[in-house]
C-alpha cells in the first residue's frame, strides 16, 4: 500500500501521471468515479497512438502504390508492354533494384529497429572479442610507452546514441557554465544589462549552422597543431553556444525580477551583497533559471542533429545523414527509427529536467 502511494507520487512528480493511473487499474484500486479520468489519461493516449500508426500505415501504402504505378507507367511509355510487365513482377517480388523508395510503413520501421539492435549486438560482441585479443598486447605496449591499440571498427546505432548524448551533455554543461553566471551578473547590474542587451538580441536568433561555421573557423585554427579529431570539440561547443541563450535570458530575468518584498527583507536584515545574492536572489530565481535550463537542454538536443551532420561527428545526426546518402533497401526505415529515438530521448531529457526542477525549487510547477 505504502509503496504504491510512493510510486504514484513519483510518476506524478515526473509528469508521467498516465503510468500511475495505469498501475491503479491493475492493482484494482480504481473506483468507478475515477473511470472517466482513467479514460482520459490512459485510454485516450493509447487510442491516439494506435490511430497515428494506422494513418501512417495507410499513408505509406498509398505513397508506395503511387510510386509503383508511376514506375510501371514509365516503363510502359519508354520501353513498351513487356518492360512494364517485367517491372510489375520485379516490384511484386520486392527486389531492391526496383523497389519504390518512399515513406516506409510502421512494420518496416519496426523490422529496421530490430535489425539495428541485432547489428549492435554483433558489433558489441566483436568489440569484446577484440578487447580480449589485444589485452595482453596492449599491456605490453603501455609498458613500452606506446599507445594502446583501440577498436576502430564501425560504431553501432547504440554507440551513436551514446556519442550523441555525450555531445549534448558536454554542450549543455558549457551553456550552463557560461550562461548562468553571466545571466546573474546581467540581472544584477543594469549597466551590464544594457551593455550586453544588443549582443544577446543579435546572437540569439542566429541559426545553428552559422554557429557551427563560426566555431569551426576558430577551433580549426586553435587546434591546428594537433592531430586529434576536432569534430567532437567543434560540435559540442556549437551546441552549447546555440542553446545557451534561453538560460542566459531567463537567469537575467529571474535575477532582475526578484520579488521586492524579499529584497526589502534582505535590506532590513542588513544582509551583505554576497549573502543577499546567495540567500535571497538566487533561491528566488531558481524556478526561472531551471525553466531556462530546460529549454536549453531541449534546444541543445534539437540542434545537435544538424550540427553532428555538419561536423561529421559520429552520432545520431551523422547516422541519419549517412543513411540518407546510403540509399540502401532499409535506409528510409532506419531514418524513421532514428527520428523516433531522437524524439523519445528528447522527451526523456525534458522529463529529467522537470524532475530536477521540481526537486530543487520551492515553486512546484504542475506538469502538463
Amino acid at each position: 500500500m505504502r509503496q504504491s502511494v510512493t510510486l504514484s507520487k513519483v510518476t506524478k512528480f515526473m509528469g508521467l501521471g498516465m503510468f500511475g493511473t495505469l498501475k491503479d487499474l491493475f492493482t484494482g484500486k480504481l473506483g468507478k468515479e475515477d473511470f472517466k479520468s482513467f479514460l482520459r489519461k490512459t485510454i485516450v493516449p493509447i487510442a491516439s497512438i494506435l490511430l497515428f500508426i494506422g494513418l501512417w500505415h495507410m499513408g505509406a501504402k498509398a505513397l508506395y502504390e503511387k510510386e509503383a504505378n508511376f514506375k510501371i507507367q514509365k516503363a510502359l511509355t519508354d520501353q513498351g508492354q513487356s518492360a512494364a510487365d517485367a517491372m510489375k513482377a520485379c516490384i511484386a517480388s520486392g527486389d531492391i533494384s526496383c523497389k519504390p523508395n518512399t515513406l516506409p510503413s510502421p512494420a518496416q520501421v519496426w523490422d529496421s529497429y530490430k535489425s539495428l539492435l541485432k547489428d549492435h549486438n554483433i558489433i558489441a560482441a566483436d568489440k569484446a572479442a577484440f578487447k580480449e585479443k589485444t589485452a595482453a598486447l596492449n599491456e605490453k605496449r603501455i609498458e613500452d610507452g606506446l599507445e594502446a591499440i583501440t577498436y576502430t571498427g564501425r560504431p553501432s546505432f547504440v554507440d551513436q546514441i551514446f556519442r550523441s548524448l555525450k555531445t549534448v551533455f558536454a554542450g549543455f554543461l558549457l551553456a550552463l557554465i557560461i550562461a548562468v553566471p553571466l545571466g546573474i551578473f546581467i540581472g544584477l547590474s543594469p549597466t551590464l544589462k544594457s551593455s550586453f542587451n544588443w549582443f544577446i538580441q543579435i546572437f540569439k536568433p542566429v541559426s545553428p549552422v552559422v554557429w557551427y561555421l563560426l566555431v569551426f573557423m576558430i577551433v580549426k585554427t586553435l587546434l591546428i597543431d594537433s592531430n586529434e579529431d576536432s569534430s567532437f570539440t567543434i560540435s559540442f561547443i556549437s551546441v552549447g553556444l546555440c542553446s545557451m541563450w534561453a538560460t542566459l535570458v531567463n537567469t537575467a530575468m529571474g535575477v532582475s525580477s526578484v520579488d521586492k518584498d524579499y529584497i526589502n527583507v534582505a535590506k532590513v536584515l542588513k544582509l551583505g551583497s554576497f549573502q543577499k545574492i546567495f540567500k535571497v536572489v538566487l533561491p528566488s530565481s531558481l524556478p526561472l533559471i531551471f525553466t531556462g535550463l530546460k529549454i536549453t537542454l531541449s534546444v541543445a538536443w534539437m540542434v545537435l542533429i544538424a550540427i553532428e551532420l555538419l561536423a561529421q561527428s559520429p552520432g545520431l545526426g551523422l547516422f541519419v545523414w549517412e543513411e540518407f546518402q546510403n540509399g540502401a533497401n532499409d535506409s528510409n526505415a532506419k531514418i524513421i527509427v532514428a527520428m523516433f529515438v531522437i524524439g523519445i530521448i528528447g522527451f526523456l531529457l525534458d522529463r529529467l529536467m522537470l524532475t530536477i526542477q521540481n526537486w530543487v525549487s520551492f515553486d512546484k510547477t504542475e506538469a502538463i
Binding site: N264, V268, L269, K270, L271, Q275, P283, S361, F362
Partner: protein, 286 residues
C-alpha cells in the same frame, strides 16, 4: 529629545510633471517605551511612511531622526513586521528566523543562535511547525513567524505595517495580545500602522490619524487613557473607550467626506455586462 522624530517630511515619487507628492509635512515624535498607532485609509501612504522610518527609502525633504541621529538606511535596532509577511518561501520557519538572528548577532556560536531561534519560535507557539515551509502554514501562522523573526533580532523599536490586516478576527485578537505581551515585557518602543481603529485603541498609548493621500499628512493626536492591561470585553463598556473611538471615527469620516466633495468629477462607467465566463472555460478545458 524624542526617541524617534520626523521633521517636516515630504515624500514624492516621479519627476517633473509626473511628480506626485505622497506625504507632505509629516511631523511626529515618539518617546522611548511608547506604543503609537497610526490609523489611516488604504492608499493613504501608510507603507511609505513606514519605509521612511525603517530606512528603506529616504524622504524628498525633511529628516527622520532616530535617537538623535538621522536615519540613512536600515538598522537592526528597528525591527520591521511587514504587511505581507515577506517570509522567504524556500526556507523553513526555523531557517527564516535563523537568518535574521545570524545577521543580528554575528558573534554568537551556532548553538546559541539555535537557542534564540527555538525561544522565539516557542514564543509565537510554532515549535511544532519549526521545520515547515511558509507554504504549508496558514496566514496567521505565517504572520507569527514574521513576528518571531522581527523580535528575535531584539530590536529597540518595533515597526509594524498593518501586521494583522489579512487575518481573521479571532487570530487577530490572539496576535494583538501576543504583541502587547512582548512589548510589555521589556518595554520596547512600538509603532503600529493599522486601518482598524479598535485595534489602535486596544493596543496603543496614542493614536494619530493619517489624512488620506496624495499629500497625506498627520492629523491631531488622540491620547488613550485606559489602564493596562486592557480587557477586550470590558473595553466595550468603558466610557473613555467609547468617547475616543467615536471621536476618531468621526474625524476619519469627516476627512473622508471632505475628500469626496473635493473631487466633483463624475466618472461615467461604460455600459458593460459580464460574459458567461464560467461555462466558456468549463467546456474549453475539460
Amino acid at each position: 529629545m524624542a526617541y524617534l522624530e520626523l521633521n517636516n517630511i515630504y515624500k514624492s515619487y516621479g519627476h517633473g510633471d509626473n511628480e506626485t507628492e505622497v506625504l507632505s509635512n509629516i511631523n511626529l515624535s515618539i518617546e522611548e517605551g511608547e506604543f503609537v498607532a497610526i490609523v489611516g485609509f488604504t492608499g493613504s501612504g501608510k507603507t511609505t511612511l513606514v519605509n521612511l522610518i525603517n530606512g528603506l527609502i529616504t524622504p524628498t525633504k525633511g529628516e527622520v531622526l532616530f535617537k538623535g541621529a538621522p536615519v540613512l538606511g536600515t538598522s537592526h535596532e528597528r525591527g520591521v513586521i511587514f504587511q505581507n509577511y515577506s517570509l522567504l518561501p524556500w526556507l523553513t520557519v526555523g531557517q527564516n528566523v535563523l537568518m535574521a538572528v545570524k545577521e543580528a548577532f554575528p558573534k554568537k556560536s551556532k548553538k546559541e543562535l539555535q537557542e534564540i531561534v527555538a525561544d522565539y519560535v516557542e514564543m509565537v507557539s510554532l515549535t511544532p511547525a519549526i521545520n515547515k515551509r511558509p507554504k504549508e502554514l496558514s496566514g496567521g501562522m505565517r504572520q507569527r513567524v514574521a513576528v518571531a523573526r522581527a523580535l528575535a533580532m531584539k530590536p529597540e523599536m518595533i515597526i509594524m505595517d498593518e501586521p494583522l490586516g489579512a487575518l481573521d478576527a479571532l487570530t487577530r485578537g490572539n496576535l494583538q495580545d501576543e504583541i502587547l505581551n512582548i512589548w510589555g515585557k521589556d518595554k520596547r518602543t512600538a509603532l503600529l500602522i493599522t486601518n482598524d481603529v479598535d485595534e489602535g485603541i486596544y493596543m496603543a498609548d496614542r493614536i494619530i490619524p493619517l489624512r488620506p493621500g496624495p499629500n497625506a499628512t498627520l492629523g491631531p493626536e488622540f491620547k488613550i487613557d485606559i489602564e493596562r492591561p486592557r480587557d477586550k470585553t470590558e473595553l466595550n463598556d468603558n466610557a473613555n473607550f467609547k468617547k475616543t473611538r467615536n471621536a476618531i471615527i468621526e474625524y476619519l469620516m469627516d476627512i473622508g467626506e471632505e475628500r469626496k466633495s473635493e473631487s466633483n468629477e463624475k466618472i461615467i462607467l461604460p455600459d458593460l455586462s459580464p460574459k458567461d465566463f464560467v461555462n466558456q472555460f468549463k467546456y474549453k478545458f475539460l
